[in-house]
């Protein structure tokens, strides 16, 4: 069993894929930061930001449908921002009542809500393009380049490596439980047990997973020691950035700076 589909990396031959991971990483963060710094209701800048990420999506060959589809995943959280439509003071647009309640939609409230939803949607697209066009080992290189400590990067690497192994184990546990969750032919029996019993079983599965994780980490430790590990995390030096990468980084940041400038000083 392989949970391949957990790995978000999609291999394509594209400009975005071939861009140095460090550049992509920094540009993605800068893009999201720019989006966050853009004031509410700055619609023209939102449009330009969206156009930028759309261009990146197109250049990545990932498919617009794929990126937009995945971007919808982050949408449920938008509910959290729904109340501002009614609570932010401002000129009233319309109001309606549910029972005794009267809800008034204010213009500034609506604007802020739409702004938040748009910002969130545009940002998540950028994150998707990054994750889908960059293999995780390259992301780790980018993390090191921006100064994440080696020890933490090493933990990230181990987690990524074993994520799939343990996700497979979790999946098999779930299957084993499902396989034994049957219904007797005798009528009148209450299926499924009590909620606390079911929770305890799920907890047992978690404990089982943890325990095997512990024991596996012991074996991994031995395998590391057998190859010279001495408690210190050592890594090969980062390869230098090419001139082209510097250029891409510079021009990307310049575009974002212009967008931000537009948002404030148009």
């Amino acid at each position: 069993m392989h949970i391949h589909f957990l790995d978000p990396y999609h291999h394509r031959i594209s400009l975005v894929h071939s861009l140095d991971a460090r550049v992509k990483f920094v540009l993605t963060i800068a893009f999201i930061l720019t989006t966050a710094l853009t004031p509410h209701a700055a619609w023209p800048v939102y449009i330009l930001l969206f156009a930028t990420i759309l261009a990146a999506t197109l250049l990545s060959e990932l498919g617009i449908g794929f990126v937009l589809g995945r971007a919808a995943l982050a949408f449920p959280f938008v509910l959290a921002a729904l109340p501002v439509i009614f609570t932010l003071p401002g000129p009233a647009l319309t109001s309606f009542s549910i029972g005794d309640w009267t809800l008034t939609v204010s213009q500034s409230g609506l604007e802020r809500f739409i702004s938040v939803a748009l910002k969130s949607w545009i940002s998540v697209q950028a994150a998707i393009v990054l994750a889908s066009s960059t293999p995780f080992p390259d992301l780790m290189m980018a993390m090191r380049a921006v100064g994440v400590p080696r020890l933490l990067v090493a933990i990230f690497g181990l987690m990524w490596r074993y994520l799939f192994v343990l996700a497979d184990e979790a999946l098999r546990l779930l299957r084993a439980r499902a396989a034994r969750s049957g219904q007797a032919d005798q009528p009148g029996l209450k299926n499924g047990g009590s909620v606390t019993w079911r929770a305890r079983i799920a907890g047992g599965m978690a404990g089982n997973l943890f325990l095997r994780g512990f024991e596996r980490s012991d074996r991994i430790y031995m395998a590391m020691v057998a190859r010279g590990y001495d408690g210190e995390v050592r890594v090969a030096p980062l390869p230098p950035l090419h001139a082209g990468s510097w250029l891409a980084l510079g021009s990307g940041l310049a575009v974002l700076a212009i967008l931000l400038g537009l948002a404030y000083w148009l």
Binding site: M1, H4, F5, E169, R172, L173, R175, A176, R177, A178, A179, R180, S181, G182, Q183, A184, D185, Q186, L189, K190, N191, G192, G193, W197, I201, G204, M205, G207, N208, L211, R212
Partner: protein, 236 residues
């Protein structure tokens, strides 16, 4: 019609597009014991996961007289005992007793009936005095027996095992083979252990690339070295 497995023209693809089953048909009579062999990735485990509706593909499956469809899943799962390869994936309760009791408890059986089921199942796998033990500390062979007991306690009509002897030493393997021989129940066993196939099963089925490529008497198929080699198998 009871206690049988009937699979007709089954197709299944994983979400990533991998076509794991491409038209599988297989009929097993009540109390027949059949071995399922084939190279890694042939689709054996995938087929097995269809037999109690953990995966649902396109095609018809009837197990123990019940069609495997959404509305039947509860009943089907009580009738089919599925034992996976790694017993560690199946023993998620602290003690052997609780693990063997999971199925009966889930079905909502009364406490003394649960108790009976557990003792009986442990008796069958000859582990009666292990019920208070912590599963984690048992040997591979012992864990495997307990895993079998966890499904026997549901009194299944059909037993399906995925690679039961993998990773066992010869002694544990021998005692498992004897146990399987003595269970009077319909059985489908996926394995790479050709010696066990020859010893235990009169009928064997070869899968490769999502299809059944041979189905017949073990004696006959084992002699056909060209066929075995063509599907990455070896005569024992």
């Amino acid at each position: 019609m009871h206690h049988s497995i009937e699979v007709d023209d089954l197709y299944f693809a994983y979400p990533d597009g991998r076509k794991a089953l491409q038209g599988v048909s297989l009929h097993i009579e009540p109390c027949e014991k059949v071995a399922l062999v084939g190279p890694n990735g042939a689709g054996k485990s995938t087929l097995i996961l269809h037999l109690n509706g953990i995966l649902i593909g396109k095609g018809l499956i009837c197990v123990a007289g019940l069609p495997v469809i959404k509305s039947n899943l509860g009943k089907v799962r009580a009738r089919v005992g599925l034992v996976f390869q790694n017993p560690d994936d199946q023993l998620f309760s602290p003690t052997v007793y609780e693990d063997v009791a999971y199925g009966p408890l889930y079905q909502g059986l009364p406490p003394d009936e649960v108790q009976n089921r557990v003792s009986e199942a442990l008796e069958t796998v000859r582990m009666a005095d292990y019920s208070r033990r912590v599963s984690h500390h048992l040997s591979v062979g012992e864990k495997k027996r307990i895993a079998i007991a966890t499904v026997l306690s549901m009194k299944p009509e059909v037993l399906v095992l995925d690679e039961p002897t993998a990773g066992m030493d010869p002694r544990a393997r021998r005692s498992l083979i004897n146990l399987l021989r003595d269970l009077p129940i319909t059985m489908l066993v996926s394995t790479h252990d050709m010696l066990m196939v020859r010893e235990l099963f009169e009928r064997m089925v070869i899968m490769d690339d999502g299809r059944i490529v041979a189905d017949g008497q073990t004696e006959v198929i084992m002699k056909d070295e060209a066929l075995l080699n063509a599907h990455g198998l070896e005569k024992p």
